[in-house]
Structures are given as C-alpha cells and as structure tokens.
Symmetry: C2
Subunit: 444 residues, 2 copies
C-alpha cells in the first residue's frame, strides 16, 4: 500500500497537515490565515458544539448574540487589552461605499460589548447572576497560521457572567471548568486533561485567577484546550457593572469569562490520530458505524441497507457507502483516514456464510460477524473503544510525565514530555528561566 | 393598566420597535446598523435554526464553514455582483498592525468563495450532486436599519448546490422551497406563505429562476421570508465548476442557492404580534408553558414545582417564575409581552380549591383547571393554538387579498393589502408602472 500520510515519528507537524488534507477536514481560505471547515470537519465541530451547548445550558447560562463589529474606541477603554490585541486586530475603514468617521474593529472577542450591555441590564441584585454565552466567529490576525490551532478567524464560545459575590463567581468559573469543560473533554473527547491554575505570568489580562485545561498530544507536547477566568471586580469596574444589593448599597459585580474553540478539533486530531489517520471517539463521532458494500452481488445491497437500518434503529449514527464503482481499497483507506470508529464491510463472499466483517478502527481488529449479531457487536465495540482511546491517552500522559525537583531537571524533561515539579522549587524566577528555554509552566 | 405598547393601528412600525424592546428580543449594537440579539430573541432563533437544520440535512445537504474574509478581487470576478453589493460592503484595510496589500471584504454572502471551492472539489459526475449549507453571519451595510428586518450584520443560512443536470438542480431548488422552507414556515412559524416565482425584474442577479416565499404581516404588507434560486450554468461558468460526465465529456454543472435569515424573526413578530406583545406559535416556542407562582402560601411553591416537573415529563418546554417579590401584575404583563403560549398561574386561593388558572395567550382564555388536569389541558391548548394562529393569519391574508384584472386596480388595492391579478394583464410594462407607484410584483 502506498504511503498515505507522513508518519508521526518522522515529522509530526507535517503528519498533522496531511491528516487534515487527506481526511478532508479543512482547507486554507483565500485570505491568509483563514480556513474552510469542510463537511467532515464541521460535522465533528457540530457534535462538540451541541454536547457542550447542552452542558452550558444545564449550568444555567443563556445564549445571546453580540455584533461582529466593535467601535475602535471600545478597545481603548481597557488599556491592558489594547496592548494585548492591537497587532491582532482586523480594522474596517470603509463601509457603505465611503470612508468611516470612526474605524471599526472586527471582534477579537465580544468582551467589551458584553461588558457594556451587562452594565445596562444589571441594576439590582435581583438581576444577578447574569449568565450569558455566545457561539460566534472571532478574528485575531495570525502571522504563522496552522489550521484549527492558530487561524486568523476561528469559531468559539465565550461565556461571560456577573455575580453578586466573589464566592458565587468563583463557584461558577470552577463549575464551568469542571462540569462543563473537563467532563466534556474526558467523556466526549476521551482526552485526560490536566486541570489547574495558570501562573501570574501566564494569566489572562485582568483576571484574578485563570484556570486551564491542558491535553497531551501525540508528540507529548501540551495543548491548551480551554480556559475559565475569575475576573474579580476588575472587569465590572472597567465597564461600570454596578448593582444595588439587598441592603441597598451600590456594589460592583464579580465577573467570570470562559471559552473553548475550534482549536479543540486540532487537539482531537493530535491526541488520537495515528499513522493511518484520524481516530474519532465513538461518543463524539458524527458517523459511529460506517456500512460499506465491498462489491455487488446477489442480495448484497439489500442486506447492507437492512444492517444500516437496524443500526440506526438502535440509535447508532450510521454512514453508508455503496460506491461500488470506486475500488474498495481506496474507500477503505478513506474510512481509516476519516477515523470512523467501526466499519461494517458487506461483501458477497462473507454474506454467503451469513457474515459481514466488523472492523474496529481503535482496537485494530477485523472480525467476521454473523449478520444477526452486528448490532450488539457494534454497540459493545463503541463503548469499549471510547474507553480504550481514553486509556491510551492517559497511559501516554503518564509515561511522558516525570516528577522532578528543580527547574533545570524540568527543562530537560520538557524536551520529551511533561515535568511535574513543586511550584515552591520554581517560583516566578524559575519560571522566567524556563521560559527563556522555550518551556512554559502550563498548570499549577 | 398603563399602556405598554403603541397600538398597531396607531403606528405599526413604532409598535414593532416597542415589542422588540419590551419583550427583550434585541437591542441596537454600538456600531450603527448592528444588533444585539438578547436571550429571549436568540432562543427563538435557535429553535428556528435547529428545526430547519434538521430539514436541510434530511434534504441531503451537509454543513460546512467558509471564511468571513474574502479578497476584494473575488467580488470583481462577477460583474453583476459588484454592482449589486458595492455600496453594501464593509472593507478591511488594516490587519496585523499594518495596511494590507489587498483590501479584504467582510462577506456579504459566501457565494464567491463557495464557488471557488466547488470548482476544486468537483471533477467527475461521481462528485455530484454536491450539497452544501452554511450557518453564518454576513454583513451588508445598511443605511436605514431596522432590527431583524434590515441590519448591517445578520445571521442566516445559505445553501449552495451543484448538479449534473438542469432537471436535478431544478428539483432540488424546488424541494428546498417547498419541503424545507414552505413546510417550516407553515408548520412551525404558522405563517401561510404564498410561494411562487419572481418576475425577471425582481430576480436575483445570475439566476434563471428565483422562487420566493411571501408572508402577510399584521399591517397587510408583504415580507419576503426566504428565496431559492436556480442559477442554470451561469454560476458554474463564472467559477469554472466543470465535471466529466459518465460519457467522458467536460460539462458545466447546474447550481442552486437558497437562503433564510434572522429576518424571519421580524416576520414572526409582525405576523403574529398583537397589542399586548409577541405571540409565539407553540411548536416553535422555546417556552411553551410558563408556570408562575402568583404569591406565596402554604404548599404553593411545592405544587408549582410539581406541575412544572409533570409538564416537563410530558415533553413540554417549561418556564418557571417564582419571583414573588416582584408584583404579579408586572410579571403577567411581561409574560404577555414575551408571548408564551400558555401560562399556569399557581396561587394560594385557587389551590385551596384544587385549581390553578390556565391562561392561553392565543385563545385569550383564563380557565380555572384542576391540578390533575393541567398536563392534558396544556397539551390540548398547544395543539389547538398552533392551528388557531395559522388560521388567523390565513383569514387575514384572504380578507386582504383582492382579485383584480388590471394594473391600476392592483395599485389601488395594494394600498390596503394584496392584489391577485393575471400576469397577462400586467406584463413587464405594467410592472414598471406599478413599481413607479411603490407597488411590487411579489410572486407569480
Ligand atoms: Zn478584561
Ligand atoms: Zn452569482
């Protein structure tokens, strides 16, 4: 078989690009740094979105939509932010056929607009907590783009909440961190993220605490999969989010913000992909079982359709491939690349013996299975392989994490994995030293 | 009771603005022409989206995502379009902290980029039909903005498909028109849209046929609720979407495009709203039954919670209002404004007699109902009132549509409703005359 992908061991970044192209997940857009998310990639994003959206709603937040365009003056309000974003901004100077009096910025986040409206909508403690979430595109100019990981435009959700007390805000930021993000990443993405706090140096501008979720990728490097921030009263003071308390005092609200993005798609590819392509966790997969007609023959198409319907009736998300005029080998390679958890190969020879072949992408097995046993075999495989993928990622994380006791050892270990080291042995000074070597303190 | 809204008869556009503000559906964004869709409005949009998305997928189309930014040169390719859009474009001239070599346009539609990628993805008849849909924000500079109806940024779905034959393209454009759009608008939005073809004059640039869905609003005016276009081979020729046929010939594909937007929210408000506020069709409503505690009393809160849970268990989408420290009258006005189809008022006096009060927003009835009968009363009310809302809209459309036989009569009738007139009696000349009087031929 011809080599389809660059092997991971040879060139991991190249392998990553190959998977995205060959599995038809995404493509570069015509404007540098932008991306086209193709149907196979977008279907995975939709599944991520819909599961996470349910969790966000269960946490009490409501979705809303804030404008793409922000007056440039808004971003000057918060000095820290302008410094952070300025070179990242896309600026609209013409609209309606003429030059604009005030330039408009394409949102790098909706934080400032949401702050403005929160200030309008909050006046009494009865209006709190105010729990908002938005699914939207945002733009941050990217000079070294990489599909899904760093693109000038990306899709994300950003949550912004305002609370009457610090305790309530803290509990909410942590609830999102653990019950929404961590649980989603472990249960759906099968990625055993490490969850903790960022150092002061790595913290989000304006935050009093930044929590992060870090996943270990196939090259043993860390990827930040999401963040949740406590903003204390800093944000409320910048935007005048003030409420009258039950006792009639005027107080600043306590706010949080939290976000995840299409970057999770990059994390998914790098955490679970292998040299044959993507491997999608069964619970997340838009197509869990892919029924393929190997070649035509008496009753083959009818039997394949029956199996498809039986799987569907059992609540399994099913794909169907009857393109018998395309060589089967090519279609099988494509199914491997796309990472469907299970495929069911239906061909005349096996069928004559009452069998089909059940191929498990994650377990790597090919098992002739009686037609009558397909639904139960697939159901069992999906559950087992969800767990197997998680276990494999966990084993890698553990084998690539080393306990060390000082900065120098940590820097050495970071060349091939993660180092776990007491913060007392590092401190802000050790962190600066590690940073100078290209090593970051990811998570406390 | 103080007047909450401007009555429709007094000033319909003003009433429309009042409903949007008082029902907390949307707000103007800081950049002129943009909008903030508030949670109460966005929840309705999400329900529209999810129902329609299911229909679009059932029609075989796959979702994808194309970039927000388009090189300016793309819009020069298709002369007709530049003329159409130029004053509507928002142009980005700065990114990454400096002036861009080529200006970038914020997409007014993704048509040109999708055309470009279709040309890449299609090479053989085996790649057809290619059925794509996108949910996204688009920007068209608007000098006289009105929330939901005409905003500089709006949310929409745009479908783009390529087919091997004209018949297939035509059948698909019409399938979307009838099975997706018309059925959705009648069944979910309870709007008896009139469906037909646009005149050559009103047709979309580049289309060989433009189909439209027109709804009659509360002021007896028409609102275009969606369109579906056959583009013949025009679009494929502009973008070089070429395939080799089964016979090995190189042919241009036949394409379609079709779209609906947040404008449907404006249509919903204007089609069904009354002088007390919004009325949301039960099937669409994010909250179908709103359980309200009138005032505290022994066992009231517990009973209200039990009713809420029983309704939820019956598959009804339920809201819950236990804010007894806010006067009940104010909360009732708010519930009217938001248009919840049914509310269940739970108070100590009625409860002592084993009753709650079921208030139907559409039927306008208030009925003391035994607690044990609430679920069945609500279930019946939701079904009846979905139909009642449709019937009412249909009756208005019929009573405001007059058959006439010539242009002059049509122009006269259009002052207070719709005129139905044989096209043979109008023709292109009659159309020009009508247009001069501010009357348009909406639908053939
Ligand atoms: Zn901030
Ligand atoms: Zn065109």
């Amino acid at each position: 078989m011809a080599r389809v992908l660059t092997p991971r061991a040879e060139d991991f970044p190249r392998w990553y690009q190959d998977v995205i192209a060959k599995a038809e997940l995404a493509d570069n857009g015509p404007v540098r740094g932008t991306m086209v998310i193709r149907p196979a990639g977008y279907a995975i994003w939709e599944r991520m979105q819909s599961d996470m959206d349910g969790r966000i709603k269960a946490a009490g937040a409501q979705n809303a939509y804030f404008p793409l365009f922000i007056p440039e003056s808004y971003l000057r309000r918060e000095a820290e932010h302008v410094e952070g974003f300025s070179p990242e901004l896309a600026v609209v100077t013409h609209g309606g056929g003429k030059q604009l009096a005030e330039p408009i910025v394409v949102r790098p986040t909706s934080e400032t607009v949401i702050g403005e409206f929160m200030a309008k909508w909050v006046s009494s403690y009865r209006d709190l907590p105010l729990l908002l979430n938005q699914w939207a595109n945002v733009v941050r100019w990217e000079l070294r783009p990489r599909l899904f990981l760093r693109t000038s435009e990306f899709l994300w959700q950003e949550g912004h909440t305002a609370h009457a007390t610090e305790e309530d805000a803290r509990a909410y930021a942590r609830g999102i961190l653990h019950d929404v993000y961590e649980d989603f990443m472990r249960q759906m993405l099968a990625i055993p993220v490490v969850v903790g706090r960022k150092t002061v140096r790595e913290r989000f501008a304006g935050a009093t605490s930044t929590y992060t979720l870090e996943g270990m990728m196939g090259d043993a490097k860390a990827l930040q999969m999401g963040t949740s921030h406590e903003l204390g009263q800093n944000f409320a003071k910048a935007f005048d989010i003030v409420f009258s308390s039950a006792e009639g005092r005027q107080e600043h609200a306590w706010t949080t913000s939290w976000g995840t993005s299409t970057r999770m798609l990059g994390g998914l590819i790098m955490a679970h992909g292998d040299d044959n392509g993507l491997r999608v966790p069964p619970r997340l997969a838009p197509i869990q079982a892919h029924v393929m007609i190997v070649k035509d023959g008496e009753g083959v198409a009818a039997e394949a359709a029956k199996i498809r319907d039986a799987l569907r009736d059992a609540g399994i998300r099913v794909g169907f491939d009857d393109r018998v005029d395309t060589p089967f080998g090519r279609r099988a390679v494509d199914a491997e690349l796309k990472g469907y958890p299970v495929r069911i190969e239906v061909g005349p020879r096996d069928l004559a013996a009452g069998n089909v072949v059940v191929v498990r992408r994650i377990a790597g097995t090919k098992t002739p299975t009686p037609v009558t046993g397909v639904v139960s075999a697939v159901t069992a495989a999906l559950a087992e392989d969800q767990q197997a993928l998680y276990d494999e990622a966990l084993a890698r994380r553990e084998s690539h994490t080393v306990d060390v006791s000082n900065v120098d050892a940590a820097i050495e270990v970071a060349a091939t994995g993660w180092a776990r080291v007491p913060w007392s042995a590092i401190g802000a000074e050790g962190e600066a030293k590690a940073n100078a070597q290209g090593v970051t303190v990811r998570c406390l």
